[in-house]
Amino acid sequence: MNSLTFILLQNLAAAAINPVSRQEVIDRLPSEYSNFVLPFIIGMSFILIYLFVGMIRILYHIPGPDRKKLLISLVTPITIWRNIRDLIGDCLLHVKIWKRKPLLGYMHSSIAFGWFMLIVLGHIEVALFVPKHLGSISDGSLYYPIFYRFFVWVNPDNITLRGSFFFFLMDFFLLYVLSGIALAMFKRIKSIALGMRHTTHPSLADRVALYCLWAIFPLRLLAESFTADLSGGSFLTKPMNMLFTSFFGKGLNFMPTWWAYSTALGLFFLAMPFSRYMHIVTEALLILFRNAGLKVRKPRKGFAEAEIYSCSSCGLCLDACPMNMQKKNLKYSSVYFIRFLRRHNTKKINAIAQKCLMCGKCYALCPVSIDSPAIRVAQRATFNNPLPYNYSYLKDAYHNSTAESVGSNKSKADIMYFAGCMSHLTPVIIKSMQGIFKAAGVKYIFADEGGGICCGRPLMLAGKLDAAKEVIKANKKMIEESGCKTLVLTCPICYKVFKEEYNLKNINILHYTQYIDSLINQGVLEVKKGGKSFVYHDPCDLGRGSKIYEEPRRILEGIGELKKASKERDESVCCGGSLGSLTLDYKDRGQVTEGSVETLMANNPDEIVTACPLCYKTFGEKSPVPVKDIASVVCENLVTKSN
């Protein structure tokens, strides 16, 4: 302590003698170094090396064409703009969380954005006042801006407005972060107050990193307050400094606080690669990958690895998962799936991968937008894709059926209707659709009137990707040969796969809700408005999967009163009948259905209406009110035109 004061006095003397150094800020220590920065330097070097190696590894595992895509995206103006927008919106401000849960959004963005601003402002201060320390590592550029307040002495007679402005900003953002940390601590005790019913169990590394993170900012406040009389401060650090001085007297021994601050930082960086906090840096990489249009190809390598390390383990997917009706099924949520993927725990990974209903809600609500359903499909493919199959019959599948229906129409029609397997089990949908076609006076080809083949999506969901390609090829051939211009589908499962995988050129693919809506808009169909009230259930593959929310609602509003469900659109709960799950049993599915019906019945509608044969059948078993398909509702309320 004595030596420090001595050095300070020396420097002060030098400053008094030398008029050039009559600046606002000068280096307090001639060596410009102190041992307490060591823990920080160790942690920082470790994390930098780890990140560099990790990035090379991920880039190495990305297939060649994807890497090219990434390179091109980095120089394309539109993707550059998207990258900047997403980096600021997602990494720093957490817009997605703000929109859903403002308090949680404040908590996350205060820590992320606040910390970012502290780092940036620290560097700006160094650049403005002691610029020589920003240059090379030998000048301390690694640690100097972080511990700026330790290394400088501020001339109290020479403080400018610019200087105090930065003092104020630093204290302001420190307070901002501290408020977020306080909220985070409170969330550990009572998560529901911030809008989360379930939270994840942190692993050991998570805990270490978490407590370090909690400690960093209070320690920073302490350290900066202890030196505030030497290196300046503002509304937060100055009064605290006076408080401490009045307690401990002048000449505070500030070394322990700086050591503690540096150690907390160092420990945090050491624990980071093994904890959930890897998302802080990996998310930036993921945003670049996603905007470049990269897709999951392997469940653990390349793009998927970037996604896995971007998971912040926040647990928002726990509340989102439809399986959370039973607490025992919480362990099948995406957050644990990703955790086990990180740990290479194959047995658990496989069990979780197969359980999921693939409703996509966790993906839709994930603040980092991790496509965990795609990772699950990739994981399923590792064990299901090699299974033997024989689809040699597919080549003659449509020989009779389409020939008949095309033949009966004598000429080719512009519109083709493909009902799909599920609609054939619920013929009311097909009948209603035929009624609607008739009422609209539309000539159409019924592709699978006599029974067709599957669309291929169930195979894809099961991970049998090669088998799915064969089915898709057979259907595609039939559709292209028919010469139709529009393809109408009564099943969201079919719709999604036709839209995404078939690559049908010059053919307009429509879900029947879109088609009926356009017929009503054109005035070809007319429906009468009755007094019934409906609630509309968003089928997973139609809503979250294909983003069709408005058309079915518009149709229903024209027919009766549309009531709201307690969870709608992106938040809607799977019916439980999904083909996505391979191993969820009948009983557990029933629980999911009950939970979903409960959300739909929130406003006591007369009828539940859905636009998917699978949901229609599943709800029928558990619903207290009649369940209807949207086509049959339209068909019942058609105005027959007298001409």
Partner: protein, 109 residues
């Protein structure tokens, strides 16, 4: 051979010596539902693939129990996993995964 205009039917005798108990127990462990099946035939009645090629889960389960795994696999190789049988099964059997499990266990050499 002289063509008499008719042939012998293949033997329908059940040879339980061919019944692989180890594999079947393994199947039961993963899919206890296999014993729930009452061979009602709803699955083959609703089968999409069944229209074009002999595909039947019911027959496959029977074939397994009769010690004819090859025949069982033949009954399942055309399956497109469309899930209609799962929707329709009166016993609530998870037929899709049962089909995958049978294929997985019995096609493993």
């Amino acid at each position: 051979m002289i063509d008499f205009g008719y042939t012998f039917n293949p033997s329908s005798r059940i040879n339980l010596d061919n019944f692989d108990r180890v594999k079947f127990n393994k199947l039961v462990e993963i899919e206890p539902d296999v014993k729930t099946c009452m061979a009602c035939g709803s699955c083959c009645a609703s089968c999409s693939a069944g229209k074009y090629t002999p595909t039947s889960l019911r027959s496959a389960i029977l074939a397994l129990q009769n010690g004819l795994p090859e025949k069982a696999l033949d009954f399942l190789k055309g399956c497109m996993l469309c899930g209609k049988c799962t929707m329709i099964c009166p016993r609530g059997i998870n037929t899709r995964h049962l089909i995958i499990s049978i294929t997985k266990i019995y096609s493993a050499k």
